[in-house]
Amino acid sequence: MDALARLRGLIIDDPQGKDFRVHRDVFRDPDVFDWEMRHIFEATWVFLGLESQVPSAHDYMTTFIGRHPVVVSRDDKGELHCFINSCRHRGALVCHRAFGNRKYHVCQYHGWAYDSSGRNVHLKDREQAGYPPSFDKEDHDLVKVRKFAGYRGFLFASLAADVPSLEEHLGEARWFLDLIADQGEEGVECVPGRIVFRYRANWKMQLENAVDPYHFTSTHASYIQVLERRQKSAAADVPTSIYTNIRNAGIRRGSFAFARGHAAMWGDTPSPQARALFPSYESLVARHGEVRARWMFHTRNLSLFPNMQIAENASLQLRVMRPLSAGATEMAIWCIGPKGEAAEARRQRIRQYEDFFNPSGLATPDDVANYEDCQSGLAAWSIAWQQGHVRGFEASVAGADRFADEIGLQPERSLIGPVELGDETAFHPAYREWLRLIEAGLREDESRAHVAARGAT
């Protein structure tokens, strides 16, 4: 079957017929993974990191755009650059560490040297080289990514040039980034400590999970029980949690679906006084008004397609997803907080983060174990479709609901209900964008193949 026809058979998106289905090959087929790398991760905006992670001249960090190793580097004038981490000569990595500070990146193989803007500044023994003139006509600088931009200190890049501006790409989802960035007068920062884990399952398990309120009471049953134990034992030294009293709180969960694959889930916070931000409430009201301050105290999970998520609930977490294969994913995770946060609030934020979010925490391991169980079960290749992606369908409304109106937001769809509603419609934007991007990529492949075929005859 040709690729486009196969692709179209993987998602059923039929609003009129009230149907939305995801084929299981989306999670397990190596060809699909290859499409995702070429036509999503290497063809749209992806998240790289925070500007505050490279604060000084010549600071750099390394990461990936799809399969491409890249470097984000600040030059001597303070300007940021993003280039492919591959020497123009033989292809060796020129940066080996996750973070560092280097004025020059010198390839260890033959000594080609680049400055912190990626410009080639030295080619060892060039005078004696006997290069023909054609060599001098080539650009020997490290290859810049086509698009590189920041929004409120969040850095994104695209290997493809034909993408809209970053602001347009983020669209209405920007409001949720603003709500993070505005928590500190000078923005937010990563807490020291770099934690990376890998799980044996598809990256879209994590993509779904971030805006999935349905799993919480079953997957995190042991976490909820630990909180109840703590209340009974009243041990002084264990972390407080915003989820204390979740069973009795009668809380709501809402979601917003945005264009270009983004989505947000939000809800009431059962115990807002447990938030590290709580002592700052009055000053946040003074700076940002009552409505925005109140929204800072709602739980909010933001999923920016394809690779970045921010979860503000038990603490505040930034997640960067790196798919390794159809059945393996790497997660770089960060605890973030306002710059200049008071020491006691920072301590509380860190303890709550460790308690819930770490791969050594009391909640994330249960998510990860479930992803891996799903991937194992998906080996049953004869079963074609996942079930239940229409959960929440009847509660979802087109455009803004009164909560979106309150904050001047114009999502594509909105939903609100009791936490037990367990909405899954918030997954739909990601699958729509997934389909749109791969389809565009495969069409381009096809037209290129036609041109090549014409040229050959």
């Binding site: 020291p192 042991s222 030294d237």
Partner: protein
């Protein structure tokens, strides 16, 4: 070895701790710790730089009392934690034990460890390894753990980690 305890007694405590962890005799394992013990698995900040202050940087696990460990033991045995059901089989090995007595009379014990983990869920195995620093204090006839710092050298985590795999 100075004081009332020999290096053999110190080593025996570390071996016993490893044995109790692997046998899932975690109530007895908890009893080796003082109620106000510090338990610390710091995260790495840079390639060769650990987070040195748990209040300004991240740890994998950080507690200033036994309560947090008791929570974890309860959760692992609860049957309601997906990640802990089934529990993996583990084998801790502790070696390179060196011991020095502090002015307070407490013993600072440094060692190397590894833990082989057979994940019964995935039918896969992996190993974590690193260094321990135990601070041991006399409690009557016995030694108790006042502090345990676990440095995890291979911190690219496979799936997840808990107290029984470090």
């Amino acid at each position: 070895m100075s004081g009332a305890f020999s290096i053999d007694q110190v080593a025996d405590l570390l071996y016993r701790e490893a044995w109790l962890l692997d046998q899932q005799r975690w109530k007895e394992w908890l009893d080796l710790f003082a109620p106000d013990c510090r338990f610390w698995v710091p995260a790495w900040n840079q390639d060769h730089e650990l987070v040195d202050d748990p209040d300004t940087g991240l740890s994998f696990i950080y507690y200033e009392s036994r309560g947090g460990l008791e929570d974890r033991v309860w959760r692992a045995k609860s049957g309601t934690s997906v990640a802990s059901t089934p529990l993996p089989r583990t084998c801790h090995q502790v070696t390179n034990i060196r011991c020095e007595e502090e002015a307070s009379g407490r013993l600072r014990v440094r060692s190397a460890w590894n833990c082989h983990i057979f994940d019964l869920r995935a039918k896969e195995q992996h190993t974590f390894f690193g260094h321990y620093t135990h601070l041991l204090a006399a409690d009557g006839e016995k030694l108790r753990i006042a502090e345990k710092k676990i440095v995890l050298q291979n911190d690219l985590i496979t799936g997840f980690i808990d107290f029984y795999c470090v």
